[in-house]
């Protein structure tokens, strides 16, 4: 057993924990929180400048159409992802599905793919000379059905976002204490009542958390809807921005997108129960008995196979297909290393700056809980709710007007990444700091070391895994990030993401395939590293 009772918030009610943070820390963390909010604030200013035209733009038929599109897409994707995610989670945790551990890993893998690679795969598969064209020819169709618009966007986003639900529900199912269901059973309740009264209330928070992630992901997704030409907010904003000199329309649309995001967050927080859910006993819960599937295992296996084929095999096959096509046609497949260098460069800088910014905010939140800390943390988490396209747009507007020197500069690009991805770094740094008891630092002081020496010899070494995880997460998401890079990158600063985008735009699928393959490989390696790290942490605990 590890050292007993060592956690940072062992006695959260102890009045001593309500001491005030050093002024330097409060200022520093507060400044970071404010900086993250700057894009939103500036967007509000710009939208406010439109004056009475604001309501004209917001009330236009086109705008309402875009709003309708976004709402419908979000609802559809969230619903379908939730169904798939919950079913897969249940199959892989609570049944005797053959090969369930393998399926659990395989069906999570689509998470690695950026949505625009998925969209590229879909387009590349269903184009008239694509991977599936011969298949459709068999059925006498001279060209495959067009998957652009709502069906394509719905399918793509579902396939790449259901793992969010699956992962949260899996952990919810695993932490469910079977003793509760046993108790209900012993009181004579039939299984369906146990499912309704015991299992569902305990599982609801994880289902809801996963669905929220999917809804936010869908609403802020730019790559898939743009490539599949579905006119939701993100695409409409980009098109307006690219095609007209009028800055008002995109600003108003971006603000409406933020409002829609906040509405979803508000609904979620209102429906989230306040009841605390407990396990019946202490110690690790006994694993639950598995439900035998019997003949149902065949449809279950079929479902897993179809989802894997669509979400994982198809994109990889399409990439391979177009690489082969391009190679046999003698096309130049590789446009030099600069896009890899740029991607890595942006990723490293963004990850370093973001983790460094997360540290003081996490410190304030964990060690000095209170109003300042809560507000700062809330602000820092805003990146979760602010779609990339909105951050990008706001910063472009601001730089173009007030700081031409920063317009399309590398520094502004990194700042944008940091605003957007701070929550990811904050999550892991905060969790890591939560496991380092302040008693350890006191012990260090008590043994004759000054505060900085204690920081270097005790706190930072213990934080290292969390810092590394945060770094890896931000690096990965930065490499995959499309809209921020597209709008803010310096001229000529091509990355893997922007290359895939522009090549697909120009229908040069073979040229999109090589960077897509590199991106998938890099993502896969990183996710492997992160998961491995988390597993080791589990073992250590």
């Amino acid at each position: 057993m590890a050292t007993p009772g060592l956690s940072a918030d062992a006695t959260p009610e102890h009045p001593e924990l309500r001491r005030r943070a050093p002024i330097g820390l409060r200022l520093f963390a507060g400044a970071i929180g404010l900086a993250v909010l700057l894009p939103l604030v500036y967007l509000l200013i710009r939208a406010g400048e439109t004056g009475h035209r604001f309501w004209d733009i917001a009330g236009r038929d086109e705008t309402l159409h875009v709003l309708w599109n976004s709402a419908v897409l979000t609802l559809l994707v969230t619903a379908s992802s939730t169904v798939i995610g919950v079913v897969l989670a249940w199959l892989t945790v609570r049944t005797d599905l053959p090969g369930r551990t393998t399926w659990a890993v395989i069906t999570c893998l689509p998470l690695v793919l950026p949505s625009y690679v998925g969209a590229f795969a879909l387009i590349g598969a269903f184009s008239s000379n694509g991977l599936l064209a011969p298949l459709f020819a068999l059925f006498g169709l001279d060209r495959p059905p067009r998957l652009y618009g709502l069906p394509g966007a719905w399918l793509t986003l579902t396939l790449f976002s259901y793992p969010y639900v699956m992962l949260t529900v899996r952990s919810g199912l695993r932490s469910l204490d079977p003793a509760l269901a046993d108790a209900a059973r012993s009181l004579g309740h039939p299984p369906w009542r146990i499912a309704r009264d015991i299992t569902w209330p305990h599982l609801k928070p994880s289902v809801q958390a996963g669905s929220l992630l999917v809804a936010l992901y869908t609403l802020s997704d730019f790559g898939a809807v743009s490539m599949l030409q579905f006119n939701s907010f993100t695409r409409a904003i980009f098109v307006y921005y690219r095609t007209s000199f009028d800055r008002s329309a995109p600003a108003v649309l971006a603000l409406m997108l933020v409002a829609l995001t906040l509405l979803i967050l508000w609904i979620e927080s209102r429906t989230r129960g306040s009841a605390k859910l407990y396990r019946a006993g202490v110690g690790a819960p006994r694993p639950a008995s598995r439900v035998p599937l019997r003949l149902w295992r065949f449809p279950a296996l079929l479902a897993c196979t179809v989802i894997t084929l669509l979400g994982l095999v198809l994109p990889l096959a399409v990439i391979a297909f177009w690489l082969l096509q391009g190679w046999t046609a003698g096309e130049p497949l590789w446009r030099g290393w600069s896009m890899v260098v740029h991607s890595v460069q942006a990723g490293l800088w963004a990850a370093g700056i973001t983790v460094a910014a997360a540290l003081p905010v996490a410190w304030l939140a964990v060690r000095f809980p209170g109003r300042t800390a809560r507000l700062t943390e809330k602000a820092a988490y805003a990146g979760h709710a602010l779609p990339s396209i909105m951050i990008a747009l706001s910063l472009v507007f601001w730089a173009a007007r007030y700081a031409p020197a920063l317009y399309q500069s590398f520094a502004l690009l990194i700042f944008a990444y940091a605003c957007r991805f701070l929550p990811e770094a904050l999550g892991s740094v905060r969790a890591a700091l939560g496991t380092v008891s302040p008693r350890l630092e006191e012990a260090g002081r008590n043994l004759g070391r000054g505060p900085w020496s204690v920081l270097a010899s005790i706190t930072l070494p213990l934080l290292r895994p969390g810092l590394l995880t945060g770094f890896a997460l931000v690096f990965l998401t930065t490499m995959k990030e499309l809209p921020l890079t597209l709008l803010l990158a310096p001229t000529g600063f091509d990355t893997l993401a922007t290359r895939i985008w522009s090549a697909t735009e120009d229908a040069l699928y073979a040229q999109a395939a090589a960077p897509a393959l590199v991106l998938v490989a890099v993502s896969g390696i990183f996710v492997g590293v992160i998961l491995n790290q988390e597993e080791q942490d589990d073992v250590y605990e």
Partner: protein, 342 residues
């Protein structure tokens, strides 16, 4: 007195509206093992943390080894106080081996390796020197924490509820181990506890703390035999209370005339310990009724009710089965009783 190893004067600390310590005075003579005893939430941990320098008092002063570390104009940070601390959860550094934990506080000008070996010897953990804390048992972790605190040769060491994380069987052994180690090194030590039995059996001096104040300080037997007030009497050990009237050394109560420890005239509360209440099964005035029996093995506790409705407890050695519920008996108080003017 000037020869105190640790001296605290008028220590005060509030957290928001909570008064954690108020006018705390403390004098600990060199090489003394003092127990700071109080119920949870009485402020004893706050006093300890003020001594260590983790909490800055709102008022008052502290001196360690004759040197003032905090008063209205002085502030010495924890790392300069030469005070060792054993934390309730031990707070061993999880990323360091046992030897590195113990060596962490040893100053660079000292022979680190030799001192670490000495400490490992002292606590009997030579074979565990390269283990990590999570590979050790609770008792071993406790000893590493003690060795780590002693390694820099501190002027005094503080122990915060040092035995509360150990299970009952281990606790008794670890307690005496710890006391032996502290005796051996001759270091001044203060330990915080809410367990009166622990305080009485281990410490040279007991300071009883209630509501942020130290209400009585003295050797264990004195605190037990002559508690300063009713609350201390009730907190330390079992106590029987009866209303009475004192006339000099005599006191009248429902049990007749008793001898009192102190001189007093007027209404009082009479206190005597259950082990001083004798039961005479076939005595003359069989006025007490046995209401319950609790058998503990080495002794038993007999619950009695008097005609007035007052309840008493008597502690007897051995002899289970001698009494039954409902039995009428007579009782007598064996030693002089303690009286508190009411």
């Amino acid at each position: 007195m000037s020869g105190s190893a640790i001296q605290a004067r008028c220590l005060c600390k509030r957290f928001g509206s909570v008064r954690a310590a108020c006018g705390v005075h403390l004098d600990v003579a060199p090489s003394t093992f003092l127990a700071l005893l109080g119920a949870s939430g009485c402020g004893k941990t706050t006093v300890l943390r003020m001594l260590a320098g983790f909490v800055r008092p709102d008022g008052g002063s502290i001196s360690i080894g004759g040197q003032t570390v905090v008063d209205d104009t002085t502030w010495t940070p924890p790392e300069k106080r030469r005070i060792g601390m054993v934390f309730q959860e031990y707070a061993l550094f999880p990323h360091m081996s046992v030897a590195d934990n113990i060596g962490y506080g040893i100053r660079p000008d000292q022979d680190r390796a030799r001192r670490v070996a000495e400490m490992l010897d002292l606590v009997g953990l030579q074979t565990q020197r390269d283990r990590h804390p999570h590979e050790l048992s609770g008792g071993q972790q406790q000893r590493v924490a003690l060795a780590r605190a002693l390694a820099p040769e501190p002027a005094a060491i503080l122990l915060d509820e040092p035995f509360s994380n150990l299970d009952a069987a281990l606790r008794v052994r670890v307690r005496s181990d710890v006391r032996d180690i502290l005796r051996h090194t001759g270091v001044t030590a203060i330990f915080v506890t809410h367990d009166q039995e622990e305080a009485l059996s281990l410490a040279d001096q007991v300071a009883v703390m209630m509501n942020g104040r130290i209400v009585q300080t003295g050797p264990p037997h004195e605190v037990y035999r002559a508690p300063a007030d009713r609350a201390v009497a009730a907190f330390i050990g079992d106590a029987n209370f009866l209303a009475g009237t004192a006339e000099g050394r005599k006191v009248h109560c429902e049990l007749g005339e008793l001898i009192a420890e102190q001189d007093h005239h007027g209404p009082v509360e009479v206190m005597f310990r259950p082990e001083d209440l004798l039961i005479i099964p076939f005595g003359e005035h069989r006025t007490a009724t046995v209401t319950a029996l609790q058998f503990f093995g080495h002794d038993q506790l007999i619950h009695l009710r008097l005609p007035s409705g007052a309840t008493l407890r008597s502690r007897l050695l051995g002899a289970p089965g001698a009494y039954q519920r409902g039995q009428q008996v007579s009782v007598r108080v064996n030693n002089p009783a303690v009286i508190f003017p009411s």
